[in-house]
């Protein structure tokens, strides 16, 4: 499972991506005690076709970390970014841009002004 934390300064997305933190490695469950102290807004991304530990780990993060968001990327396996690059980049970039505000839809639905 991949956890992404936003930058607090105005770094570029590329630099922010470089600071990606892996809290949970394959074969290990999340450590709720340690995660509870992570208050930085965090995005956890998981593929719907990931049959490993990632979905459970993602849920653990969502449950333990006070400012964590869990997003499933449809039809991606463990390598989310490689399998659904556009979908992955959109949600990660949006989160890095707007932090928790990324839950509020901002793209217009207006058809004909």
């Amino acid at each position: 499972v991949t956890a992404v934390t936003p930058t607090t300064s105005r770094e570029s997305h590329v630099e922010a991506e470089g600071r990606r933190v892996r809290y949970v490695e394959a074969g290990q469950g999340p450590n709720p005690g340690r995660l509870a102290g992570v208050t930085v807004p965090t995005l956890v991304v998981c593929g719907t076709r990931d049959e490993g530990v990632a979905p459970a780990a993602g849920r653990g993060c969502r449950a333990s970390m006070p400012n964590c968001h869990l997003v499933f990327v449809y039809e991606a396996g463990p390598a989310v970014g490689a399998e659904r690059p556009e979908a992955y980049a959109e949600v990660v970039a949006d989160f890095l841009d707007r932090h928790e505000g990324f839950v509020v839809r901002r793209t217009p639905a207006l058809i004909h002004p």
Partner: protein, 358 residues
């Protein structure tokens, strides 16, 4: 063998109404509509008394033929008035719906109905794409994705976002969840390779309709093969077959009545519209292409006396492997109730008791 009654509300349109889809809404008679829905409940009380296992409702729009644009509303109304019968939604059209809303409403409905819900999720007939401006070319993909999202919304314990191809939500966490855990018995309806594969991968049932046994068996065989590939074996009850039945005291009478039925489909699209829809829509049976739009009347699979029909049902069980029959005992579009009620009575007395143990 379980038996389901396909309830279509039986609204009788005036004969002057042009038989095209969409039918002109101005021709709708509110009083006749109210009578049709009252009649639906009276009929279903009888259906329940006869011992049918399920009543099924479907989603169709813009014509009097099947007056149930919202199967959720139909099901809620039926659940409140009937005590025992299982209510099968066969089913909500997923690609033009909001899947999260569907997940919520189905969970609520299952709870209100005391866990008497069966859910079939489907792509819908070709014309239904026009109902809410759905691109027919995207319908298959939207059905699969929407169904997967519904399953996840029913079962995911933590709030989640969905980054799909056709659907995107940042916040999903539905209340209530279904009474039946993890979720109501669910079928992916359709004969296509994609529908069969989807059902097998998600351990769902498979529903096929109207076609001849051998043709439908191609789909159900393919479904069973795919289930084996995914490491499980479906039961007979995982396969539903919807069909028309014309039951009479004798074979001769049944065939004579069949000969009097209209041979073209009611409420069809104008040719230019139909051709445009057909060109944008692609259908198959276990991978073999089939026309997207049926222009003739739907076939009547089971025809004859009780003895003949019992034998036909036995063959259906063997060939298709269906454990649930979803029946119209009279063409769905007909508001002529007398033959329907006679068919029901005869079915309850002379067929139902003999197919229970098939």
């Amino acid at each position: 063998m379980k038996v389901s009654f396909f309830e279509t509300a039986r609204y009788l349109p005036p004969e002057s109404l042009p038989p095209e889809w969409p039918a002109a809404a101005g021709a709708y008679d509110p009083e006749a509509g109210a009578r049709a829905y009252r009649g639906m409940i009276e009929r279903l009380r009888y259906v329940e008394e006869l011992g049918f296992d399920w009543v099924s409702v479907s989603e169709h729009h813009y014509s009097p033929r099947i007056l149930t644009p919202s199967p959720i509303v139909s099901a809620a109304f039926i659940a409140a008035r009937l005590e025992r019968i299982t209510i099968a939604l066969l089913g909500p059209i997923v690609p033009h719906s909001n899947p999260v809303r569907l997940a919520e409403e189905l969970a609520m409905l299952d709870t209100l109905a005391g866990g008497r819900l069966v859910v079939g999720l489907l792509r819908g007939t070709a014309n239904e794409a026009l109902t809410y401006d759905l691109n027919p070319a995207e319908a298959r993909e939207r059905t699969d994705e929407g169904t997967e999202l519904i399953l996840r919304a029913w079962t995911e314990p933590q709030p989640f976002g969905w980054q799909g191809r056709h659907f995107q939500y940042r916040t999903v966490s539905i209340w209530p969840r279904p009474l039946q855990q993890p979720h109501p018995p669910t079928y992916a309806l359709g004969t296509s390779r994609e529908a069969c594969e989807f059902a097998a991968r998600h351990r769902l049932g498979c529903g096929v309709s109207y076609g001849p046994f051998e043709v439908m068996a191609r789909a159900t065989r393919y479904y069973r093969e795919q289930c084996a590939r995914h490491g499980w074996e479906p039961s007979a009850e995982h396969v539903v077959y919807r069909a028309n039945m014309l039951l009479a005291e004798t074979d001769d009478e049944a065939h004579a009545r069949l000969a009097r039925q209209p041979d073209r489909a009611p409420f069809t699209m104008r040719p230019g519209v139909r051709d445009a829809v057909a060109a944008a829509d692609a259908r198959n049976i276990a991978g073999q292409a089939r026309p997207a739009i049926v222009t003739g009347a739907l076939p009547t699979t089971f025809v004859g006396s009780p003895d003949t029909v019992v034998e036909q049902i036995r063959r259906c069980r063997e060939v298709i492997g269906a454990g649930v029959l979803d029946l119209s005992l009279h063409p769905p579009g007909s508001g002529d109730l007398e033959p329907l009620m006679r068919g029901l009575e005869l079915f309850g007395a002379k067929v139902l008791p003999r197919i229970r143990n098939l």
